[in-house]
């Protein structure tokens, strides 16, 4: 569906994407993870065929965006980061008119708009103004709108940012249903739970490059341990204590409020710590998550 080789995007002297290789296959859910400024959105815009490629090769659905932009866009659904709805049109017309931009005939457009209102669970808001919708409803409308042309490939740029937990779960459920229906999904996010929930495969981007690639499970296996023991001691003690238990895990990380010991056997770490006469205020043994991988690869400092 998507194939990129040495893909670059430069804005003047600034290089947002510094040469990435990506392959997205039909029917999969593919994620771009990365901190702000990692180059995710620039990559998405190039895939959406609205941003010319600076260098490298990019093929979407086997076509070149430089020459076949309209044909590619006709088969894409794009859900941008911000809800760019048409505020001068009501909810129904947002779907209907948008469908007409694709050259879909009137009757089909009307029928699709009605179906999508149901899909987005906003049928009773059909005649409402966009500005009267809640944040969650706007988001669902934006996603519904991106489906008006029954896209083969759906691009979602941070689909659940700013939504409450209920709305996020409804959306995840809807995205999962789309995937079941055979739609290829490409998602950018910085929510790790979202990536774990939705993505079959993902890349972690950092500073315009791909830092790691694989399924969530593979990434955890490759870049973290099976478990993490979190040990909380008194404030200010962590630095000194870290040296005493360094040998217990594969890796140890000192945070202001706790120590993270990366090990395949977290409980054993805790037992060993207690055996050494150390008494943490609190302990927690958990499985490694994508978040551990992400922070390992992109660092804990703020990107911007």
């Amino acid at each position: 569906m998507i194939s990129a080789r040495g893909l670059r995007k430069a804005f003047g002297d600034f290089e947002a994407v510094k040469g990435i290789d990506v392959e997205v296959r039909r029917g999969e859910a593919f994620g771009f993870l990365g901190p702000n400024g990692a180059g995710k959105s620039s990559t998405m815009r190039m895939i959406a065929s609205v941003s010319p490629v600076s260098s490298g090769e990019l093929r979407i659905l086997g076509m070149d965006p430089a020459t076949d932009g309209p044909a590619i866009r006709g088969r894409l659904g794009v859900c941008p980061q911000e809800d760019t709805l048409d505020n001068e049109l009501n909810v129904f017309d947002n779907l209907y008119i948008y469908g007409r931009y694709f050259g879909i005939d009137r009757a089909t457009c009307r029928e699709r708009a009605q179906e999508l209102l149901e899909f987005a669970q906003i049928t009773d808001k059909a005649k409402a103004k966009v500005e009267d919708l809640s944040g969650g409803m706007k988001r669902r409308l934006t996603i519904a709108r991106s489906l008006i042309n029954n896209p083969d490939l759906l691009l979602l740029d941070e689909p659940t940012t700013g939504l409450d937990p209920q709305a996020r779960h409804v959306l995840w459920d809807q995205l999962f249903r789309l995937k079941q229906a055979g739609v290829t999904l490409v998602i950018t996010t910085h929510y790790m739970d979202e990536a774990e929930q939705l993505c079959d495969r993902l890349v972690v981007m950092d500073k315009g490059l791909i830092a790691a690639e694989g399924s969530p499970r593979q990434l955890i296996d490759a870049h973290s341990t099976r478990e993490v023991a979190e040990l909380r001691f008194g404030v200010g003690e962590h630095e000194a204590l870290a040296e005493k238990i360094e040998d217990l895990g594969e890796r140890i990380e000192v945070l202001p409020d706790r120590l993270l010991v990366y090990s395949d056997h977290g409980e054993d770490v805790v037992t060993a710590v207690l055996d050494r006469g150390l008494h943490p205020i609190a302990t927690l043994v958990r499985r490694s998550t994508l978040e551990d991988v992400f922070l390992r690869l992109t660092g804990r400092s703020l990107a911007d």
Binding site: V50, P52, L85, D86, N87, Y101, F102, T108, E115, N149
Partner: protein, 266 residues
């Protein structure tokens, strides 16, 4: 959810223009009252100046023919109504859609191109200007201010004026960065309106450079074109005006397209 079979064929330029006009029509179909002010403005000028002030003025000479002052002012108001209608949509509204609504970004996520957007929006501006002009032309005819069957051609002339200004104003708008910049539009709009031989003949500028400058401005070309048509005194100047306005519109259209490419496809 049912899946639609196949992919719709990409829109032809004509179909794309139609869809964009449809979008604007849907927005305005419930706001038709907004059109009334645009229509009334030139009518008020016609009554206050053409007829009111006109009472103080004896018959008037245009291309050697004696005509009442109202007949002199009316075609200028016709041209101005096309000018104002086109300007309104292609400046303020375009800026709002581009900067705040991000409407064109939405459109570019679909098979629509920047060329389609340029054509669609200019066509809408042109149509808005034309509606004002058509209504005004009816008023002129009812008041007996048209003097020849040539006046029928004043409508296409007004449409041409709307096209030329729509295109150029939209092009200028692509360089605007804030609402303050629109002061410059007003600054250009007022003198064009007042000095394009709208209320007094161009001969008043004497025979110097100033007159030559006025004759080279676009609204003057539109005014003179409409005036020759409604009074029935056609000269070679009409041909110049037509060519002038056509070229102006096409240049504007090309610039708009290039600018949208540069601004939106980054």
């Amino acid at each position: 959810m049912a899946l639609v079979e196949g992919i719709p064929a990409p829109l032809t330029p004509a179909a794309a223009t139609k869809v964009l006009v449809l979008r604007n029509y849907v927005v305005y179909k419930d706001a038709w009252k907004l059109f009334i002010t645009g229509f009334l403005e030139p009518v008020f000028y016609l009554f206050s100046i053409g007829i009111g002030v006109g009472q103080l003025i004896d018959t008037f000479e245009f291309h050697g023919e004696a005509i009442p002052y109202a007949e002199f002012v009316a075609p200028a108001m016709l041209a101005t109504s096309a000018f104002n209608g086109a300007l309104l949509d292609s400046t303020y509204n375009v800026f709002f859609k581009m900067k705040y609504e991000k409407l064109y970004d939405q459109m570019l996520a679909t098979p629509l191109s920047t060329g389609d957007i340029a054509r669609g929006e200019i066509t809408w501006g042109l149509m808005r200007g034309s509606v004002y002009s058509a209504a005004f032309l009816v008023v002129m005819a009812l008041m007996g201010l048209t003097h020849s069957w040539w006046a029928v051609l004043a409508l296409p002339a007004a449409i041409l004026i709307a096209f030329a200004f729509s295109a150029v104003c939209m092009a200028v708008t692509t360089w605007m960065t804030s609402w303050q910049d629109f002061d410059k539009i007003t600054l250009a709009q007022m003198p064009l309106f007042l000095f394009s031989a709208t209320f007094f003949p161009v001969e008043a500028f004497g025979d110097g450079v100033l007159r030559w400058v006025v004759e080279a401005t676009p609204l003057y070309r539109g005014v003179v074109l409409c005036r020759e048509l409604t009074t029935g005194v056609i000269t070679w100047e009409s041909a110049i005006s037509v060519v002038y306005l056509v070229v102006m519109g096409i240049l504007g259209l090309l610039v708009v397209r290039r600018r949208l490419d540069k601004l939106l496809l980054t």
